[in-house]
Symmetry: C2
């Protein structure tokens, strides 16, 4: 038996080493607008598996989301980064990003169309079990996945990482069919206490299955290394909150996909 066990372990390691993440840029449409998303999956996984939609922060679809897609693919899911802004629309700085994000935050109907187009694209993928899908989003993307839920989309769960929680139509909470997880920086200066309270009320009134986690010492953008590490700017990376929220997301997935 002593000789056999190492062989078993070596075999397991060999399988793991062979697994690789396949990525692909994917063009798709919402109405007449061409969008350019990004797909990632592990080729060693056989058959259909849950799908996870990833929605970008205000700078649009960047390498950051693509890296998250690869991390999620490594968990055994099909990951698809949605493009809300449109092919080639990638703001060069935060001023331009603010303009672009505002277009959608002030037109929630359009935002819902765009994110649902991404969800539909994910569900069409032949590797995806369309009955087991989730959506996650960062900052602007957090707001967006909440809008996806509020649109009544058939999705098992959504996770917002430091997303804006405000809604111009709180009554739409009643459309939510999925579980909701909100990962929030307790020191996020961009989210007013009144917005948090309104969000909780929206979930409460609509009897949603929701959890909100507040991470002490974390400000806006706590999952994003490119935000730097100066909390006084209101947006900064926080390794501890990043790690904990990622773990919370994985547990959430286990709960909704099993």
């Amino acid at each position: 038996m002593k000789k056999i066990l190492p062989v078993l372990l070596a075999t397991a390691c060999a399988v793991s080493a062979q697994a690789k993440i396949v990525t692909q840029v994917v063009e798709y449409k919402q109405g007449d607008t061409t969008l350019e998303g990004f797909l990632a999956y592990e080729d060693a996984v056989a058959g259909k598996r849950p799908g996870v939609l990833i929605v970008h922060q205000w700078l649009g679809l960047t390498d950051y989301e693509k890296q998250r897609a690869e991390q999620i693919a490594a968990l055994g899911y099909v990951a698809f980064c949605a493009d809300i802004y449109g092919k080639g629309v990638r703001p060069k700085d935060t001023t331009a990003a603010g303009v672009e994000a505002t277009k959608y935050k002030s037109n929630r109907a359009l935002l819902r169309l765009r994110v649902n187009a991404g969800l539909d694209e994910l569900k069409r993928n032949k590797l995806v079990d369309a009955g087991r899908v989730a959506a996650i989003g960062y900052c602007f993307g957090g707001t967006t996945v909440l809008e996806l839920a509020r649109s009544g989309a058939a999705v098992n769960g959504v996770v917002s990482f430091h997303g804006g929680l405000d809604s111009p139509a709180p009554a739409d909470g009643k459309n939510i069919k999925c579980k909701v997880l909100v990962c929030h920086g307790a020191d996020d200066p961009f989210e007013k206490a009144s917005d948090l309270a309104a969000f909780e009320d929206e979930m409460r009134q609509a009897n949603v299955d929701w959890v909100l986690i507040k991470y002490g010492g974390a400000v806006h953008s706590f999952t994003q290394p490119m935000a730097g590490n100066d909390n006084s700017k209101g947006a900064a990376y926080n390794e501890r909150a990043d790690r904990r929220s990622w773990t919370a997301m994985k547990l959430f997935f286990t709960g909704i996909f099993n």
Copy 2:
């Protein structure tokens, strides 16, 4: 190999089946007061291991905490239920419980002495690695483990389940040396928004490593089946929040003990 694997599995199962939880009523003292706690550990675990102090709700040390102690022992830790009220002081109803709890909530110095006596008793146990200890508490016990932290006790972490978060001396937050996890029912009517805000501010000012989780649809006592299931009473069991908060606690332990 096909024949050997089942043997390995059977062996593993046999070990697991042999493991049993040892329990013991333990008398100890705080000053001249005799206290009666409850110890639980798994006898199959070898050597020193982390210890977890469990602090009871307002009815005093009941079978509920003893059951939690056995669950925690099954995780491989030494569990010890503190007795805050004193040997034989076990309120018979909620009126008596309110009177007893108030004695300590209005005398935080005494509360700290009592809970620290429990912690010391746990650390003295020869099976406990005294450098790896945590404290958890329910309702009144949640308040109590936060007071333990505020006393500056050498503990790696505390977890409050639907505990009162208010403090008559918020500046004592600066004494906190451990990580703090608060599991809170989002619909708990006994915890005012102002108490929550004050707690967050206390943690913030003292630069504590803290996380607060709000469970949607959960009121006070959400981990306690004996609370019934009528949310309109303000205290009720919530299986979902119970399960999720238990998982959060286990992850928290993994983080502080490893």
